[in-house]
Symmetry: C2
Subunit: 215 residues, 2 copies
């Protein structure tokens, strides 16, 4: 059984925005059991964890001789080995993988940059002047994605690992108010969140936060 790592104390207070959520969701879609090892912020930056993850982050994935890091790589690894996360047709499979990269390299960076500004620059003199530009860069991506999705259920035909990455990336905007400006995208995220595998993964990460709050 694989072991993944997750935050001992998730900074999102159980809202499922940490990157272990992507891996949990993929494992649930593939009906694969897994163990979780919780890591503190201190331990995450120490040598033992860095041996698994050179950049000192979560999640990692250990299965027998294999150790992996990067949520995209872990989800792709799971998707390649189990049914239901990548199409059988070679071209459709390549396109699903393209959507994984698009989620991580084209859609996520401006979302993270906006989140970082909200988190770290709220008290800076320039915050009010910078914020609209950051929001606009996210809006451009959401507009493009909205035109692509339109009335489709998923990014490219059947649900795939590309949707896991895209939905979890978009969920980082949950409290930004921006998703509501794009009803097609809000509906797409809701479709992802309604999947039983998503629910199970979400409850599992929430249970970690709830237990930590009690102790």
């Amino acid at each position: 059984m694989p072991t993944i790592t997750a935050f001992e104390n998730s900074p999102d207070r159980g809202r499922g925005q940490a990157r272990d959520m992507r891996v949990r969701w993929a494992l649930e879609e593939a009906a694969q059991p897994y163990d979780v090892r919780l890591v503190s912020f201190t331990a995450m930056k120490q040598a033992a964890h860095r041996a698994l993850h050179p950049f000192g982050q979560i999640p990692t994935y250990e299965d027998g001789d294999l150790t992996l890091f990067e949520s995209g790589a872990i989800v792709l690894h799971i998707a390649e080995r189990h049914e239901g996360l990548l199409p059988e047709d070679a071209n459709a499979r390549a396109r699903a993988i393209a959507w994984m990269f698009a989620a991580l390299n084209t859609v996520e960076p401006p979302i993270v940059e906006l989140s970082m500004a909200v988190l770290l620059e709220r008290d800076k003199s320039w915050y009010a002047e910078r914020l609209p530009g950051l929001q606009e860069r996210v809006r451009i991506r959401l507009g493009e994605l909205s035109r692509h999705i339109s009335e489709a259920n998923w990014l490219d035909g059947a649900f795939s690992a590309g949707d896991i990455m895209m939905v979890t990336v978009l969920r980082r905007l949950n409290t930004s108010g921006l998703l509501e400006e794009f009803p097609d995208i809000a509906a797409y995220v809701a479709r992802g969140e309604a999947r039983p595998a998503f629910r199970r993964a979400f409850e599992a990460q929430l249970a970690v936060f709830t237990a930590a709050s009690r102790s």
Copy 2:
């Protein structure tokens, strides 16, 4: 023969920092000939190109029935179909793919954010105050990568598609002065640039810029 797209007028003036460089390099390593279709900034945002790339960017990749976007996905597609870009051993192969994602999702975002600030915020009142923090976030990643590479030639054993992505991401720092602070990383980038396949790819994209400048 596949056709890729590239900027008609590269904003980097032929320094090989646009994302088509990654795809050219991978195709050269795999000894695969390819065609290039040049796209203007206007055409890139129009319907015909958006049918290939929903986010209106370059590169795209067309080969028979298949159309792909996202440099990471294109390089992975090439690497899966030709020798020399991914290890044969399944675990080593998964780790090489993890490095592709690490380059694009962990190392590139703070580098792009720094570049964007230098490009777009140089005349803002807050530029001098924000810059050190942006540089420090890049330095943290470079420090972690430097500890990982140390005296190794490549990221994980033999040269792979992971190195193509990482070297091209790091080259975006060429004029920042930051690479020079990490001699292990500067040497790693230089090793990548010294590969004959890199040189051929670089000359090919430079020829586009040179021809455009003459016309």
